[in-house]
Protein backbone atom coordinates (compact mmCIF):
# COMPACT_ATOMS: atom_id res chain seq x y z
CA UNK A 1 0.00 0.00 0.00
CA UNK A 2 2.71 2.46 1.05
CA UNK A 3 6.40 2.07 0.29
CA UNK A 4 9.42 4.23 1.07
CA UNK A 5 12.26 3.58 -1.33
CA UNK A 6 15.67 4.81 -0.13
CA UNK A 7 14.06 8.05 1.05
CA UNK A 8 16.76 10.59 1.86
CA UNK A 9 16.74 14.20 3.03
CA UNK A 10 19.89 16.26 3.29
CA UNK A 11 20.13 19.72 4.73
CA UNK A 12 23.28 21.76 4.35
CA UNK A 13 25.99 19.39 5.49
CA UNK A 14 23.96 16.89 7.47
CA UNK A 15 21.68 14.05 6.50
CA UNK A 16 18.39 14.16 8.40
CA UNK A 17 16.90 11.05 6.82
CA UNK A 18 19.31 8.51 5.38
CA UNK A 19 18.06 6.03 2.73
CA UNK A 20 14.97 4.84 4.60
CA UNK A 21 13.29 1.89 2.89
CA UNK A 22 10.08 0.54 4.43
CA UNK A 23 6.99 -1.26 3.18
CA UNK A 24 3.53 -1.06 4.68
CA UNK A 25 1.40 -3.73 2.93
CA UNK A 26 -1.91 -2.91 4.63
CA UNK A 27 -3.42 -0.19 6.85
CA UNK A 28 -2.00 -0.43 10.34
CA UNK A 29 -1.20 1.73 13.31
CA UNK A 30 2.49 2.43 13.10
CA UNK A 31 4.65 4.17 15.67
CA UNK A 32 7.99 5.76 14.89
CA UNK A 33 10.27 6.32 17.87
CA UNK A 34 13.69 7.85 18.23
CA UNK A 35 15.58 10.66 19.91
CA UNK A 36 15.05 14.31 18.95
CA UNK A 37 16.80 14.96 15.64
CA UNK A 38 16.57 11.31 14.55
CA UNK A 39 14.65 12.40 11.43
CA UNK A 40 11.15 11.29 12.43
CA UNK A 41 9.46 14.60 11.64
CA UNK A 42 11.42 15.10 8.43
CA UNK A 43 10.31 11.65 7.30
CA UNK A 44 6.62 12.39 7.85
CA UNK A 45 6.94 15.84 6.26
CA UNK A 46 8.37 14.23 3.12
CA UNK A 47 5.46 11.77 2.96
CA UNK A 48 2.95 14.65 3.15
CA UNK A 49 5.14 16.62 0.71
CA UNK A 50 5.49 19.54 3.10
CA UNK A 51 9.16 19.18 2.25
CA UNK A 52 10.79 17.58 -0.76
CA UNK A 53 12.93 14.48 -0.63
CA UNK A 54 16.55 14.92 -1.72
CA UNK A 55 16.62 11.37 -3.07
CA UNK A 56 14.37 8.32 -3.13
CA UNK A 57 10.65 7.86 -3.52
CA UNK A 58 7.40 7.46 -1.64
CA UNK A 59 5.05 5.10 -3.46
CA UNK A 60 1.38 4.97 -2.56
CA UNK A 61 -0.67 2.29 -4.31
CA UNK A 62 1.85 2.27 -7.14
CA UNK A 63 1.89 6.07 -7.58
CA UNK A 64 5.14 7.96 -7.05
CA UNK A 65 4.09 10.63 -4.57
CA UNK A 66 7.48 12.34 -4.52
CA UNK A 67 7.17 13.21 -8.22
CA UNK A 68 3.84 15.06 -7.91
CA UNK A 69 3.78 18.80 -8.68
CA UNK A 70 1.27 21.63 -8.29
CA UNK A 71 -2.37 20.56 -8.21
CA UNK A 72 -1.53 16.85 -8.13
CA UNK A 73 0.66 17.42 -5.11
CA UNK A 74 -2.10 19.32 -3.31
CA UNK A 75 -4.56 16.54 -4.20
CA UNK A 76 -2.19 14.05 -2.55
CA UNK A 77 -1.95 16.27 0.51
CA UNK A 78 -5.75 16.23 0.56
CA UNK A 79 -5.69 12.43 0.92
CA UNK A 80 -2.80 12.28 3.35
CA UNK A 81 -3.77 14.12 6.50
CA UNK A 82 -1.23 15.48 8.96
CA UNK A 83 -1.52 16.19 12.67
CA UNK A 84 1.09 18.37 14.35
CA UNK A 85 2.62 18.63 17.80
CA UNK A 86 1.47 22.23 18.19
CA UNK A 87 -1.95 21.49 16.58
CA UNK A 88 -1.44 24.14 13.84
CA UNK A 89 -5.03 25.37 13.89
CA UNK A 90 -6.05 28.89 12.92
CA UNK A 91 -6.45 30.34 16.41
CA UNK A 92 -8.92 33.13 15.66
CA UNK A 93 -11.38 31.03 13.68
CA UNK A 94 -14.14 28.94 15.20
CA UNK A 95 -13.77 25.21 15.70
CA UNK A 96 -16.13 24.17 12.90
CA UNK A 97 -14.35 26.44 10.39
CA UNK A 98 -11.06 24.86 11.40
CA UNK A 99 -12.53 21.40 10.82
CA UNK A 100 -13.98 22.53 7.47
CA UNK A 101 -10.46 23.48 6.39
CA UNK A 102 -10.08 19.74 5.81
CA UNK A 103 -12.17 20.17 2.64
CA UNK A 104 -10.13 23.06 1.20
CA UNK A 105 -8.57 20.93 -1.51
CA UNK A 106 -12.00 20.04 -2.91
CA UNK A 107 -13.57 23.52 -2.77
CA UNK A 108 -13.08 26.64 -4.85
CA UNK A 109 -10.70 29.23 -3.44
CA UNK A 110 -13.22 32.06 -3.76
CA UNK A 111 -16.01 30.31 -1.82
CA UNK A 112 -13.66 29.31 1.00
CA UNK A 113 -12.27 32.84 1.23
CA UNK A 114 -15.74 33.97 2.24
CA UNK A 115 -16.07 30.96 4.56
CA UNK A 116 -18.89 29.51 2.43
CA UNK A 117 -19.20 25.73 2.82
CA UNK A 118 -22.05 23.41 1.83
CA UNK A 119 -24.53 22.57 4.57
CA UNK A 120 -23.70 18.83 4.36
CA UNK A 121 -20.06 19.58 5.07
CA UNK A 122 -20.99 21.63 8.11
CA UNK A 123 -23.18 18.78 9.35
CA UNK A 124 -20.39 16.29 8.78
CA UNK A 125 -17.89 18.51 10.59
CA UNK A 126 -20.15 18.66 13.63
CA UNK A 127 -20.72 14.89 13.48
CA UNK A 128 -16.97 14.32 13.49
CA UNK A 129 -16.57 16.69 16.43
CA UNK A 130 -19.34 14.77 18.18
CA UNK A 131 -17.51 11.50 17.52
CA UNK A 132 -14.43 12.97 19.21
CA UNK A 133 -16.53 14.24 22.12
CA UNK A 134 -16.10 17.98 21.55
CA UNK A 135 -19.25 18.95 19.61
CA UNK A 136 -20.19 21.34 22.40
CA UNK A 137 -17.13 23.48 21.55
CA UNK A 138 -18.27 23.92 17.91
CA UNK A 139 -18.92 27.69 17.88
CA UNK A 140 -15.91 28.66 20.04
CA UNK A 141 -12.68 30.06 18.72
CA UNK A 142 -9.94 27.44 18.47
CA UNK A 143 -7.65 29.47 20.72
CA UNK A 144 -10.18 29.29 23.57
CA UNK A 145 -9.82 25.50 23.81
CA UNK A 146 -7.43 23.49 25.96
CA UNK A 147 -4.49 21.70 24.35
CA UNK A 148 -6.20 18.31 24.36
CA UNK A 149 -9.35 19.76 22.81
CA UNK A 150 -7.33 21.61 20.16
CA UNK A 151 -5.54 18.41 19.22
CA UNK A 152 -8.91 16.70 18.82
CA UNK A 153 -10.02 19.57 16.56
CA UNK A 154 -6.88 18.91 14.53
CA UNK A 155 -7.82 15.23 14.33
CA UNK A 156 -11.33 16.26 13.25
CA UNK A 157 -9.78 18.42 10.49
CA UNK A 158 -7.77 15.38 9.41
CA UNK A 159 -10.89 13.18 9.39
CA UNK A 160 -12.77 15.82 7.40
CA UNK A 161 -10.22 15.22 4.64
CA UNK A 162 -11.45 11.60 4.56
CA UNK A 163 -7.82 10.54 4.17
CA UNK A 164 -6.38 7.11 3.50
CA UNK A 165 -3.36 7.92 5.64
CA UNK A 166 -3.10 10.02 8.76
CA UNK A 167 0.38 11.19 9.74
CA UNK A 168 0.73 12.37 13.32
CA UNK A 169 3.91 14.25 14.22
CA UNK A 170 4.33 13.94 18.00
CA UNK A 171 0.58 14.35 18.54
CA UNK A 172 0.77 14.07 22.32
CA UNK A 173 4.11 15.72 23.07
CA UNK A 174 2.52 18.94 24.32
CA UNK A 175 -0.32 17.31 26.24
CA UNK A 176 -0.72 16.14 29.82
CA UNK A 177 -1.02 12.34 30.39
CA UNK A 178 -4.81 12.40 30.60
CA UNK A 179 -5.29 14.31 27.34
CA UNK A 180 -2.52 12.29 25.73
CA UNK A 181 -4.51 9.16 26.43
CA UNK A 182 -7.71 10.65 24.98
CA UNK A 183 -5.90 11.69 21.80
CA UNK A 184 -4.14 8.33 21.38
CA UNK A 185 -7.42 6.47 22.02
CA UNK A 186 -9.02 8.63 19.32
CA UNK A 187 -6.24 7.84 16.82
CA UNK A 188 -6.48 4.13 17.60
CA UNK A 189 -10.26 4.21 17.17
CA UNK A 190 -9.90 5.92 13.81
CA UNK A 191 -7.68 3.08 12.71
CA UNK A 192 -9.88 0.32 14.14
CA UNK A 193 -13.24 1.68 12.99
CA UNK A 194 -12.40 3.35 9.67
CA UNK A 195 -9.47 1.18 8.63
CA UNK A 196 -7.28 4.22 7.94
CA UNK A 197 -3.54 3.93 8.14
CA UNK A 198 -2.07 5.92 11.03
CA UNK A 199 1.65 6.71 11.27
CA UNK A 200 2.56 8.49 14.49
CA UNK A 201 5.87 9.86 15.69
CA UNK A 202 6.03 9.20 19.38
CA UNK A 203 8.59 9.82 22.01
CA UNK A 204 7.23 7.73 24.80
CA UNK A 205 7.95 4.02 24.51
CA UNK A 206 4.97 2.90 26.55
CA UNK A 207 2.61 4.76 24.20
CA UNK A 208 4.22 3.09 21.20
CA UNK A 209 3.96 -0.32 22.83
CA UNK A 210 0.41 0.12 23.94
CA UNK A 211 -1.20 1.55 20.81
CA UNK A 212 0.83 0.46 17.79
CA UNK A 213 0.77 -2.70 15.70
CA UNK A 214 4.27 -2.08 14.45
CA UNK A 215 7.07 0.05 15.84
CA UNK A 216 9.91 1.57 13.86
CA UNK A 217 12.96 2.90 15.63
CA UNK A 218 15.12 5.62 14.04
CA UNK A 219 18.55 6.84 15.00
CA UNK A 220 20.51 9.51 13.16
CA UNK A 221 18.26 9.27 10.12
CA UNK A 222 18.41 5.49 9.75
CA UNK A 223 15.91 2.78 10.62
CA UNK A 224 17.52 0.75 13.39
CA UNK A 225 14.49 -1.21 14.57
CA UNK A 226 11.39 -2.53 12.84
CA UNK A 227 9.20 -4.98 14.70
CA UNK A 228 6.22 -5.65 16.91
CA UNK A 229 5.69 -3.83 20.20
CA UNK A 230 6.60 -7.03 22.04
CA UNK A 231 10.07 -7.00 20.48
CA UNK A 232 10.68 -3.49 21.77
CA UNK A 233 12.61 -4.42 24.91
CA UNK A 234 14.55 -2.03 27.12
CA UNK A 235 17.77 -3.26 25.51
CA UNK A 236 16.47 -2.39 22.05
CA UNK A 237 15.29 1.01 23.31
CA UNK A 238 18.80 1.74 24.63
CA UNK A 239 20.16 1.03 21.16
CA UNK A 240 17.58 3.31 19.52
CA UNK A 241 18.29 6.21 21.85
CA UNK A 242 22.00 5.49 22.08
CA UNK A 243 21.69 5.39 25.86
CA UNK A 244 23.79 3.49 28.36
CA UNK A 245 22.67 1.17 31.14
CA UNK A 246 21.57 4.17 33.22
CA UNK A 247 18.59 4.66 30.89
CA UNK A 248 15.34 3.70 32.51
CA UNK A 249 12.00 4.04 30.83
CA UNK A 250 10.07 4.37 34.04
CA UNK A 251 12.10 7.42 35.10
CA UNK A 252 10.34 9.75 32.65
CA UNK A 253 7.33 7.69 31.69
CA UNK A 254 4.13 9.61 31.17
CA UNK A 255 1.82 6.67 31.72
CA UNK A 256 0.00 6.93 35.00
CA UNK A 257 0.53 3.24 35.86
CA UNK A 258 4.27 3.69 35.55
CA UNK A 259 4.22 5.89 38.65
CA UNK A 260 4.12 2.74 40.77
CA UNK A 261 7.22 1.32 39.09
CA UNK A 262 9.12 4.56 39.48
CA UNK A 263 8.05 4.78 43.09
CA UNK A 264 9.35 1.24 43.67
CA UNK A 265 12.68 2.28 42.17
CA UNK A 266 12.96 5.37 44.31
CA UNK A 267 12.28 3.65 47.61
CA UNK A 268 15.62 1.83 47.94
CA UNK A 269 17.35 5.06 47.02
CA UNK A 270 15.53 6.92 49.75
CA UNK A 271 16.30 4.15 52.18
CA UNK A 272 19.99 4.52 51.35
CA UNK A 273 19.85 8.20 52.26
Amino acid sequence: MLTFDRLTKRFKGNTAVDAVSLTFPKPAMIGIIGASGAGKSTLLRMVNRLSDATEGHVLFEGQDVTALRGGARRAWQGQCAMIFQQFNLVPRMDVVSNVLHGTLNRRSTLATMFNLYPREDIHRAIDILDRLGIAAQAPKRAEALSGGQQQRVAIARALMQDPKIILADEPIASLDPMNAQIVMDALRRIHDEDGRMVIANLHTLDTARRYCDRVIGMREGRVVFDGTPAQLTTGVARDIYGADAGFSEAATSTSIEALDDAGAMLRPAQAAI
Binding site: N115, I122, H123, I126, D130, G133, A136, A138, P139
Partner: protein, 289 residues
Protein backbone atom coordinates in the same frame (compact mmCIF):
# COMPACT_ATOMS: atom_id res chain seq x y z
CA UNK B 1 -11.48 7.34 27.24
CA UNK B 2 -14.43 8.37 29.36
CA UNK B 3 -14.57 11.69 27.57
CA UNK B 4 -14.70 9.98 24.19
CA UNK B 5 -17.43 7.46 24.86
CA UNK B 6 -19.54 10.11 26.56
CA UNK B 7 -20.70 11.04 23.04
CA UNK B 8 -23.81 13.15 23.40
CA UNK B 9 -27.23 11.87 22.43
CA UNK B 10 -28.27 12.63 18.88
CA UNK B 11 -30.78 15.29 19.94
CA UNK B 12 -27.89 17.38 21.29
CA UNK B 13 -26.00 17.19 18.03
CA UNK B 14 -29.03 18.48 16.17
CA UNK B 15 -29.24 21.46 18.51
CA UNK B 16 -25.54 22.17 18.01
CA UNK B 17 -25.93 21.86 14.25
CA UNK B 18 -28.86 24.25 14.14
CA UNK B 19 -27.18 26.71 16.45
CA UNK B 20 -24.00 26.69 14.38
CA UNK B 21 -25.86 27.03 11.09
CA UNK B 22 -27.83 29.96 12.50
CA UNK B 23 -24.56 31.58 13.59
CA UNK B 24 -22.99 30.96 10.19
CA UNK B 25 -26.06 32.46 8.45
CA UNK B 26 -25.88 35.60 10.58
CA UNK B 27 -22.16 35.99 9.83
CA UNK B 28 -22.77 35.53 6.10
CA UNK B 29 -25.60 38.06 6.15
CA UNK B 30 -23.38 40.65 7.86
CA UNK B 31 -20.62 39.90 5.39
CA UNK B 32 -23.00 40.33 2.46
CA UNK B 33 -24.39 43.61 3.81
CA UNK B 34 -20.87 44.94 4.35
CA UNK B 35 -19.91 44.02 0.80
CA UNK B 36 -22.97 45.80 -0.63
CA UNK B 37 -22.30 48.90 1.51
CA UNK B 38 -18.68 48.88 0.39
CA UNK B 39 -19.52 48.66 -3.30
CA UNK B 40 -22.24 51.33 -2.95
CA UNK B 41 -19.85 53.70 -1.13
CA UNK B 42 -17.11 53.20 -3.71
CA UNK B 43 -19.50 53.84 -6.60
CA UNK B 44 -21.18 56.89 -5.10
CA UNK B 45 -17.85 58.26 -3.92
CA UNK B 46 -16.38 57.91 -7.37
CA UNK B 47 -19.39 59.57 -9.01
CA UNK B 48 -19.29 62.48 -6.56
CA UNK B 49 -15.56 63.00 -7.00
CA UNK B 50 -15.89 62.78 -10.77
CA UNK B 51 -18.68 65.38 -10.85
CA UNK B 52 -16.57 67.81 -8.79
CA UNK B 53 -13.45 67.20 -10.84
CA UNK B 54 -12.61 70.23 -12.96
CA UNK B 55 -11.81 68.36 -16.15
CA UNK B 56 -13.76 65.16 -15.73
CA UNK B 57 -12.12 61.85 -14.98
CA UNK B 58 -12.82 60.08 -18.26
CA UNK B 59 -11.43 62.93 -20.40
CA UNK B 60 -8.34 63.32 -18.22
CA UNK B 61 -7.45 59.65 -17.82
CA UNK B 62 -6.52 59.39 -21.49
CA UNK B 63 -3.87 62.11 -21.10
CA UNK B 64 -2.24 60.42 -18.14
CA UNK B 65 0.63 59.08 -20.20
CA UNK B 66 1.20 62.30 -22.14
CA UNK B 67 3.79 63.87 -19.84
CA UNK B 68 5.76 60.66 -19.16
CA UNK B 69 5.56 60.08 -22.92
CA UNK B 70 7.17 63.44 -23.64
CA UNK B 71 9.93 62.81 -21.10
CA UNK B 72 10.65 59.33 -22.44
CA UNK B 73 10.61 60.53 -26.05
CA UNK B 74 13.08 63.32 -25.35
CA UNK B 75 15.26 61.12 -23.18
CA UNK B 76 15.43 58.56 -26.00
CA UNK B 77 16.57 61.23 -28.43
CA UNK B 78 19.38 62.25 -26.14
CA UNK B 79 20.07 58.79 -24.73
CA UNK B 80 23.81 59.23 -25.29
CA UNK B 81 23.86 62.19 -22.90
CA UNK B 82 22.21 60.30 -20.03
CA UNK B 83 25.31 58.64 -18.49
CA UNK B 84 27.14 61.97 -18.49
CA UNK B 85 24.20 63.70 -16.83
CA UNK B 86 23.91 60.94 -14.27
CA UNK B 87 27.54 61.46 -13.27
CA UNK B 88 26.97 65.20 -13.16
CA UNK B 89 24.09 64.77 -10.69
CA UNK B 90 25.92 62.20 -8.56
CA UNK B 91 27.16 64.72 -5.95
CA UNK B 92 23.64 65.99 -5.36
CA UNK B 93 22.41 62.42 -5.10
CA UNK B 94 25.01 61.77 -2.42
CA UNK B 95 23.85 64.86 -0.55
CA UNK B 96 20.27 63.58 -0.71
CA UNK B 97 21.36 60.15 0.51
CA UNK B 98 23.31 61.70 3.36
CA UNK B 99 20.28 63.69 4.47
CA UNK B 100 18.18 60.51 4.39
CA UNK B 101 20.76 58.37 6.17
CA UNK B 102 21.41 60.85 8.97
CA UNK B 103 17.67 61.40 9.44
CA UNK B 104 16.94 57.65 9.49
CA UNK B 105 19.72 56.92 11.98
CA UNK B 106 18.77 59.72 14.34
CA UNK B 107 15.06 59.00 13.99
CA UNK B 108 15.47 55.25 14.52
CA UNK B 109 17.51 55.69 17.72
CA UNK B 110 14.89 58.01 19.20
CA UNK B 111 12.11 55.74 17.91
CA UNK B 112 13.59 52.73 19.76
CA UNK B 113 13.55 54.63 23.04
CA UNK B 114 10.07 56.08 22.56
CA UNK B 115 8.64 52.77 21.33
CA UNK B 116 9.88 50.96 24.44
CA UNK B 117 8.31 53.67 26.56
CA UNK B 118 5.04 53.34 24.66
CA UNK B 119 4.60 49.55 24.81
CA UNK B 120 2.30 48.07 27.40
CA UNK B 121 4.13 45.56 29.56
CA UNK B 122 7.56 47.03 28.80
CA UNK B 123 7.17 50.73 29.60
CA UNK B 124 9.21 52.05 32.51
CA UNK B 125 6.51 54.58 33.37
CA UNK B 126 3.11 53.09 32.49
CA UNK B 127 1.47 56.46 33.11
CA UNK B 128 3.49 57.98 30.26
CA UNK B 129 2.40 55.43 27.63
CA UNK B 130 -0.45 57.56 26.40
CA UNK B 131 1.45 60.90 26.30
CA UNK B 132 4.38 59.28 24.48
CA UNK B 133 2.01 57.75 21.96
CA UNK B 134 0.27 61.07 21.35
CA UNK B 135 3.65 62.73 20.91
CA UNK B 136 4.54 60.18 18.25
CA UNK B 137 1.13 60.73 16.62
CA UNK B 138 1.89 64.45 16.34
CA UNK B 139 5.34 63.83 14.85
CA UNK B 140 3.76 61.49 12.33
CA UNK B 141 0.83 63.72 11.52
CA UNK B 142 2.75 66.84 10.49
CA UNK B 143 4.10 66.41 6.94
CA UNK B 144 7.88 66.65 6.57
CA UNK B 145 7.53 69.47 4.10
CA UNK B 146 5.70 71.65 6.64
CA UNK B 147 8.35 71.08 9.31
CA UNK B 148 11.06 71.69 6.70
CA UNK B 149 9.49 75.00 5.59
CA UNK B 150 9.29 76.22 9.20
CA UNK B 151 12.89 75.16 9.87
CA UNK B 152 14.17 76.68 6.63
CA UNK B 153 12.52 79.92 7.72
CA UNK B 154 14.34 79.75 11.07
CA UNK B 155 17.66 78.17 10.14
CA UNK B 156 17.93 79.16 6.50
CA UNK B 157 18.06 76.79 3.53
CA UNK B 158 20.35 73.75 3.42
CA UNK B 159 20.56 70.10 4.30
CA UNK B 160 20.32 70.43 8.12
CA UNK B 161 16.68 71.60 8.32
CA UNK B 162 15.72 68.88 5.85
CA UNK B 163 17.50 66.28 7.96
CA UNK B 164 15.76 67.42 11.15
CA UNK B 165 12.36 67.51 9.45
CA UNK B 166 12.71 63.98 8.11
CA UNK B 167 14.09 62.72 11.43
CA UNK B 168 11.07 64.06 13.31
CA UNK B 169 8.69 62.31 10.94
CA UNK B 170 10.79 59.13 11.16
CA UNK B 171 10.59 59.08 14.97
CA UNK B 172 6.81 59.15 14.79
CA UNK B 173 6.46 56.58 12.03
CA UNK B 174 9.12 54.13 13.22
CA UNK B 175 8.11 54.55 16.87
CA UNK B 176 4.64 53.29 16.01
CA UNK B 177 5.96 50.32 13.99
CA UNK B 178 8.63 49.45 16.59
CA UNK B 179 6.09 49.55 19.37
CA UNK B 180 3.93 47.07 17.46
CA UNK B 181 6.96 44.82 17.08
CA UNK B 182 7.64 45.13 20.81
CA UNK B 183 4.12 44.04 21.62
CA UNK B 184 4.75 40.74 19.85
CA UNK B 185 8.03 40.13 21.66
CA UNK B 186 7.94 37.41 24.27
CA UNK B 187 7.97 38.70 27.84
CA UNK B 188 9.54 35.48 29.13
CA UNK B 189 13.18 36.55 28.63
CA UNK B 190 12.33 39.91 30.21
CA UNK B 191 10.91 38.10 33.23
CA UNK B 192 14.00 35.93 33.32
CA UNK B 193 16.25 38.99 33.41
CA UNK B 194 14.06 40.69 36.02
CA UNK B 195 14.47 37.58 38.18
CA UNK B 196 18.23 38.14 38.34
CA UNK B 197 17.81 41.79 39.33
CA UNK B 198 18.43 43.56 36.01
CA UNK B 199 17.62 47.26 35.57
CA UNK B 200 15.02 48.43 33.05
CA UNK B 201 17.70 49.39 30.53
CA UNK B 202 19.41 46.02 30.92
CA UNK B 203 16.10 44.18 30.51
CA UNK B 204 15.27 46.13 27.35
CA UNK B 205 18.75 45.99 25.81
CA UNK B 206 19.45 42.33 26.62
CA UNK B 207 15.94 40.87 26.73
CA UNK B 208 13.86 42.71 24.15
CA UNK B 209 16.25 44.14 21.55
CA UNK B 210 17.76 40.76 20.54
CA UNK B 211 14.24 39.47 19.84
CA UNK B 212 13.09 42.46 17.82
CA UNK B 213 16.33 43.59 16.13
CA UNK B 214 15.66 41.88 12.76
CA UNK B 215 12.22 43.49 12.53
CA UNK B 216 13.62 46.85 13.64
CA UNK B 217 16.28 46.68 10.96
CA UNK B 218 13.80 45.72 8.29
CA UNK B 219 11.47 48.60 9.16
CA UNK B 220 14.37 51.03 9.47
CA UNK B 221 15.66 50.10 6.02
CA UNK B 222 12.17 50.48 4.55
CA UNK B 223 12.02 53.89 6.22
CA UNK B 224 15.42 54.73 4.74
CA UNK B 225 14.02 54.12 1.26
CA UNK B 226 11.01 56.30 2.02
CA UNK B 227 13.33 58.96 3.44
CA UNK B 228 15.42 59.01 0.24
CA UNK B 229 12.28 60.00 -1.63
CA UNK B 230 11.28 62.47 1.08
CA UNK B 231 14.74 64.01 1.02
CA UNK B 232 14.54 64.33 -2.77
CA UNK B 233 11.17 66.07 -2.51
CA UNK B 234 12.45 68.49 0.16
CA UNK B 235 14.95 69.73 -2.42
CA UNK B 236 11.95 71.35 -4.10
CA UNK B 237 11.54 73.72 -1.14
CA UNK B 238 15.20 74.66 -1.11
CA UNK B 239 17.11 72.25 1.05
CA UNK B 240 19.55 71.11 -1.58
CA UNK B 241 20.23 67.65 -2.92
CA UNK B 242 18.92 66.05 -6.06
CA UNK B 243 15.42 67.44 -5.54
CA UNK B 244 16.71 70.94 -6.20
CA UNK B 245 18.17 69.84 -9.52
CA UNK B 246 14.96 68.03 -10.39
CA UNK B 247 12.92 71.15 -9.69
CA UNK B 248 15.24 73.24 -11.90
CA UNK B 249 15.08 70.69 -14.71
CA UNK B 250 11.28 70.64 -14.46
CA UNK B 251 10.91 74.40 -14.51
CA UNK B 252 13.08 74.70 -17.60
CA UNK B 253 10.44 72.55 -19.27
CA UNK B 254 10.92 71.01 -22.67
CA UNK B 255 14.52 70.74 -23.76
CA UNK B 256 15.68 69.72 -20.29
CA UNK B 257 13.62 66.54 -19.99
CA UNK B 258 16.78 64.49 -20.51
CA UNK B 259 17.93 65.84 -17.14
CA UNK B 260 14.60 64.87 -15.59
CA UNK B 261 14.97 61.37 -17.02
CA UNK B 262 18.54 61.11 -15.75
CA UNK B 263 17.50 62.13 -12.23
CA UNK B 264 14.57 59.73 -12.21
CA UNK B 265 16.85 56.94 -13.38
CA UNK B 266 19.35 57.76 -10.65
CA UNK B 267 16.64 57.75 -7.99
CA UNK B 268 15.18 54.49 -9.31
CA UNK B 269 18.57 52.78 -9.34
CA UNK B 270 19.31 54.05 -5.84
CA UNK B 271 16.03 52.71 -4.49
CA UNK B 272 16.59 49.32 -6.18
CA UNK B 273 20.13 49.22 -4.79
CA UNK B 274 19.04 49.93 -1.23
CA UNK B 275 16.15 47.49 -1.52
CA UNK B 276 18.57 44.72 -2.47
CA UNK B 277 20.94 45.77 0.27
CA UNK B 278 18.23 45.73 2.91
CA UNK B 279 17.03 42.29 1.76
CA UNK B 280 20.54 40.97 2.04
CA UNK B 281 21.24 42.28 5.52
CA UNK B 282 17.84 41.35 6.84
CA UNK B 283 18.26 37.76 5.70
CA UNK B 284 21.69 37.66 7.25
CA UNK B 285 20.40 38.93 10.57
CA UNK B 286 17.39 36.60 10.63
CA UNK B 287 19.52 33.65 9.57
CA UNK B 288 21.96 34.27 12.39
CA UNK B 289 19.19 34.51 15.02
Amino acid sequence: MADLSLGSAHGDTDTIRDAYLAMARTKRMYGGILLIVFVALMTSGFMLADSRNAGGFWDGILNIFQFPGEVVAEAREKAALLPGLMIEFLPSLIETLNIAAAATLLGAILAVILSLLATRGLAKFPALISPVRRAMDVMRAVPEIVIALVLIFILGGGPVPAMIAIAIHTVGALGKLFSEVNENASLKPVEGLASVGATWTQRMWLGVIPQVAPNYLSYALLRFEINIRASAILGFVGSGGIGYDLKNAFSWGQGRYDEVAAIFLLLFLTIVFFDQLSDHYRNKLVGRG
